[in-house]
């Protein structure tokens, strides 16, 4: 019998070196990936956007000898969420799935950590959106990769003609379609000017429309506005902070602002504000450029006057609601190396550029270094209408529920605490203190183990 010549010390040393190299080394795509990959991807609302994604996946599949099958699943009626929940419970289904915002947190127990892929991407593309990191990274591990497809922010989309005519505000001067912004003018776009303009537009018969229901558009923009006033529901250490002067100031502001909105905003779904702008009745909403894109098809005169630009600045800063989408690789996938390869391929700059172009600038990558794509410069009418869609100045992306730990924030977000508070104060005429007390009670419940 031959005895091993490797001592225990040598073995330990070798193992440690190999492990360290594996952890610290950037993720390298394998050329030997093979087999099958089943993808359940979000069904894009922009006509043709799915085709570009399919082509990219098929090209990659052909090159790597992997058979890729794609099911596009709509988010209408939360079908994507239901499918992911069913697959997570059954531990079977696709290999890769699209997940909206919080769903990575919901399913992280059955998702494969993707640190190697994200580390490699960050090494190439630079810093990633802090909102994406907050949503997909838990205990130091990434459980999802922010996608270009579907990811969005919800800045203002306003009617140039109406703002100029009724408020004397030239939005193209404040937010020009180039990097030459005048900081003084940008500073002037704050919540006081926003309120004053809202009143003038309301009196002129073209109110702004801020949804105050319980769907994502309403939750995202309302949360960003609360943050602009410095209001926080729960901090990182589970302390309930809702009972604050900042929350009172935000609610007082909403009390004034909602009086200049149409009364039906409390029943709007995510399409309600779009229809409001497209119909020509409204002067402004807070939305990705989807409303503008539909207006371009259905009401070109309105589209030619739409300008996407930064949110107003509040006492605590200028915040815009961000809703990143992610790809997650199920831990029960039978082809994880191929899955990781494909995810890295789709997230690289060249592929992201094609995806942004296919979505006419709607999709927003999570890497700031990708904001130089020329799609946002070229899209028209009017030329440069979505140039300011990616946050370019002092605007900071945020997500409603931040900075609470994601388990709690998911519930703050999905149970629409912010919009319900506003609706209670503005529609229900409930005293602010009573509403804050109600929110405090709800938050105590959400913090349970």
């Amino acid at each position: 019998m031959q005895r091993s010549t490797i001592s225990r010390r040598d073995l330990l040393k070798t193992t440690a070196i190999t492990a360290a190299a594996t952890v610290s080394a950037p993720y390298v795509r394998h050329s030997y990936a093979a087999g099958k990959l089943a993808l359940g991807l979000w069904d894009h609302w922009v006509p043709g956007a799915n085709n570009t994604l399919t082509k990219l996946c098929n090209d990659w599949g052909e090159k790597n000898k992997v058979e890729v099958t794609i099911d596009y699943i709509t988010s209408q009626g939360d079908k994507d969420i239901l499918t992911a929940s069913a697959e997570a419970q059954a531990r079977a289904g696709h290999d890769i799935m699209s997940h909206r915002a919080w769903q990575i947190q919901v399913h992280r127990a059955v998702l494969e950590p993707l640190d190697d892929v994200v580390t490699a991407l960050i090494a190439k593309a630079g810093p990633i959106s802090p909102v994406a990191e907050y949503l997909a990274k838990t205990d130091g591990k990434w459980f999802g990769i922010p996608t270009t497809v579907g990811s969005q922010v919800k800045p203002c989309c306003s009617r140039l003609d109406l703002y100029k005519q009724h408020c004397g505000v030239d939005l193209t001067k404040i937010f020009p379609p180039n990097p030459n912004r005048d900081p003084k003018l940008v500073d002037s776009w704050n919540y006081d000017l926003y309120l004053k303009s809202a009143e003038q537009l309301f009196k002129a018969g073209f109110p702004i429309g801020l949804p105050m229901g319980q769907t994502s558009d309403a939750i995202d923009s309302t949360g960003a506005m609360f943050r602009g006033f410095g209001s926080v529901m729960v901090d990182e250490k589970d302390n309930i902070k809702v009972d604050s002067n900042e929350t009172r100031a935000a609610l007082e502001y909403f009390k004034k602002l909602m009086a200049f909105n149409p009364p039906e905003v409390y029943a709007w779904d995510d399409a309600g504000n779009n229809r409001w702008l497209i119909s020509g009745k409204g002067a402004g909403i807070q939305n990705p450029p989807s409303a503008w894109a539909v207006a371009k098809r259905d009401n070109p005169q309105v589209a030619a006057q739409c300008w996407t630009h930064d949110m107003p600045r509040g006492p605590a800063g200028r915040f815009v609601g961000q809703l990143p989408f992610f790809y997650g690789l199920w831990s029960f996938s039978q082809n994880k190396p191929a899955g990781k390869d494909l995810l890295q391929f789709l997230s690289e700059k060249d592929q992201s550029r094609q995806l942004v172009a296919a979505s006419v600038g709607y999709d927003l990558p999570s890497f700031k270094s990708y904001y130089d794509f020329d799609t946002w410069d070229k899209v028209e009418p009017p030329l440069g209408t979505v140039y300011n869609y990616p946050p370019r100045g002092d605007e900071q992306p945020t997500i409603t529920g931040y900075p609470a730990r994601p388990d709690v924030a998911t519930q703050i977000y999905n149970q629409s605490l912010h919009t319900i508070m506003v609706a209670k104060v503005t529609q229900g005429d409930e005293p602010i203190d009573q509403v804050i007390k109600w929110a405090h009670g709800e938050l105590e419940g959400l913090l349970r183990a």
Partner: protein, 313 residues
Amino acid sequence: MVDLIQQYPGQLAAPATRPRASLRRFARRRSTTAFLMCLPLIAIVAGLIVYPAFYSVFLAMLNKAQTKFIGLDNFAYLLKRDTFRMVVEQSAIFALTAVFFKALIGLVTAHLVNNLPSKGQRKWRGMLLVPWVIPLALSTLGWWWLFDPTHSAFNWLIRGFGGNEIPWLSNPYWARFSVILVNVWYGAPFFLIMYLAALKSVPEQLYEAAQIDGANAWQRFVHVTLPMMRNIIAITVLFSLIVTFANFDIVQIMTAGGPRNMTHVFATYAFLLGIRSGDLPLGAAVSLFMLPILAVSAMFILRGVRRRGREIG
């Protein structure tokens, strides 16, 4: 049912072929055939109803991460929450009001249809069943368009007549009214058809006897029709109550529980907590909350039905 067993003396006499013969005998039994034919249905019921029901009871007793058994803690937690208490109240208002109006409209319409000449009755029966036949999600979408917050067709008509617009879905109380209205529209035909069948089964002699005794139309209704329909009324009300308490489509499509959570019912709130907020055990607890109450009421109603059945029999 009596089982028909055919025996073949020759086969009984030969012990070597006994297993084969008994197998054939077993297969020839009518009850066996019936059981085999029902087997796919039993498998579907067991797999899609019985198993999920027991699993949801188990799920409701786990913690959020589904790693620890916590008994009835989820239910205790829910009872302490203002929003959940509001959901209980709303579900009760929704189900009781909707079932009451469905039963009332069903009863009145059944009488009207029953009194129509038999020639045209079939057409009316067919037309009145249409709301019940259209897939609920589809018809609710149609209603949603009629109630659309900004471009409501109803409001367009009201404006045309010089009236003020009604905030069908944006005002919580009108939103409650709207979801109940759609539920009544959808569910009333079920009551109609059940009551019509019951009305047709009341023996004509009873009415003739009552008429001879001098009973007027109301007295005939109260003392003949209603007692003869009591079992059907009890069963339809029970069935509808269970289904209405579990309604999801109408509220989810029309209001998604808003404004201000004031139209949530158990199913939509369970979906919000369980699927959207990722707390499946709590969602399961919400959906199971009415189980004991409905089970006890079902027990009493069905006991009454059995008792009356025995009295009639």
